[in-house]
Symmetry: C2
Subunit: 179 residues, 2 copies
DNA sequence: CACCATGGGTTCGTTGATTGAACCCATGTC
DNA sequence: GACATGGGTTCAATCAACGAACCCATGGTG
C-alpha cells in the first residue's frame, strides 16, 4: 500500500495506520505473530499465503518496527520474527475486527480470550468481565471455542488448540517419526 | 478480496471480517460514511479514489449491508449511501486503528471525539473520560484538532471542520456564484 | 433552442500487485 | 551420497488499481 499510489493525501490517523497495515495479508500476519507464530514456515502453512507475498510482508513489517527479525541459532542460520511492542499495540484493532466479524459476519465462537490472572472472559473492548480491569495483551490466554475444528490439518492450527498466552512463542509438535 | 483468492480457509473471525472490509479503500469509505459523507461525488473528492474503484466499493458495501443506497430525490434521480447499523458497528475498529496510527505512526492530533451529552473526550476504547459511560457512535461529536489543516482545498474537508455528530449527514457549502 | 454544468456513473488501456509453481542454497540426518 | 528442512528468490500468468475519457439524464442560462 505504501508502494505506488497511497493514502498520503489523507490527513487522518486512520489512513496513516492503513498505509502501514492496510495491505492484503498484513493484519493476518500480525494476528499470527500475536498468537505466537514466529517462523517463516509456520506463517506459510497457517496462512496459506504465497511465499513471495509472505517474504514481502515480513520485510515491510520488520522495516516498520512491528516485527523484529532475530537469529535464534547459527548453523544452520535460523531467524524468527517476533512481534514488538508496536506490533502488540495492534491487538485492540484485531480484537475489534474479530468482534465485528463474529457479530456481523459469522456468529461462531471460534476462540475465547481469558484474563490470565482471574480466568474471566475478556470483553470486546479489552476489559475483564470478571474483575473489570483492562487486560494487557500479554495477560490474555487464548483457548479454543466450542465451534473450532478440533482436528485441523496443519500443525500450527493444532498447536493453537492448546490454551496459550498471547505473545508467547508457539510450540509446534516435533515431526512424528514415520514407523 | 472476496473475489478470487480469499481468506476462506481461515477459521477465524478476524479473517472473516477482513474478507468483507479488508480490501483497499474499503475502510476509508466506511470511515467517511460514518463521518456523514453520503454522496458519490463527496466520497470521490474527499478520498481521491478512482471512480471505478469507488463504484465497486459502494456496490459491495451495499451488498454486504454496510451501506444502504437510497433515492433522495427523483428528477434528476439522485441516490445517497447511508451507513447502516452494521456499518456503524465498525466504528470501534476505526477508532482503534486511528488510535494506533496516532500513537505509533504519526503523533498529530488531527480530530477530537467528544461525548455529546457531557462534552468529555472519548477515550481510545470508547468510554467517556468525563462521565465514564460507553459512548455509542451516534453520541460522538467530532471536532477538528489543533493540528488539522484549517483551510483544506476540497469542500468535504472544509465541511468536516465544523463540529458535527457522527452518522449525521454532512452539509457541504452550496457552490458559490462566481461574480 | 443551444449550450454548458452537475451528479453519477461505465469503459478502457496501462501499470502494478498477487498467485502458484519452480528453483536455489546451506546445513543436518540416514 | 541421497534426501529432508528452513528460508528464501525468480518468473510467467492473472487480477486489481489507476486515471483519463466518455456517457447520459436533467436543470439552468443566454
Amino acid at each position: 500500500m505504501a508502494l505506488g499510489k497511497d493514502y498520503v493525501t489523507q490527513e487522518c490517523s486512520i489512513a496513516r495506520a492503513l498505509e502501514v497495515v492496510g495491505e492484503r495479508w498484513t493484519l493476518l500476519v500480525v494476528r499470527d505473530a500475536i498468537y505466537g507464530v514466529r517462523r517463516y514456515n509456520d506463517f506459510l502453512v497457517h496462512l496459506g499465503i504465497p511465499r513471495a507475498v509472505l517474504s514481502a510482508r515480513l520485510r515491510t513489517l520488520t522495516e516498520e518496527g512491528i516485527l523484529e527479525k532475530r537469529r535464534y541459532q547459527e548453523s544452520p542460520p535460523r531467524d524468527e520474527y517476533v512481534v514488538t511492542e508496536r506490533g502488540a499495540a495492534l491487538w485492540p484493532v484485531l480484537r475489534a475486527l474479530g468482534h465485528w466479524g463474529r457479530e456481523h459476519v459469522d456468529a461462531h465462537r471460534l476462540r475465547l480470550f481469558l484474563h490470565a490472572d482471574c480466568g474471566g472472559e475478556v470483553e470486546p473492548y479489552g476489559k475483564c468481565a470478571a474483575c473489570g480491569t483492562f487486560v494487557p495483551v500479554a495477560d490474555v490466554v487464548m483457548v479454543p471455542g466450542p465451534e473450532l475444528d478440533s482436528a485441523p490439518a496443519d500443525p500450527v492450527s493444532r498447536a493453537l488448540l492448546r490454551p496459550k498466552r498471547l505473545l508467547e512463542p508457539l510450540e509446534t509438535e516435533p515431526p512424528q517419526p514415520a514407523y
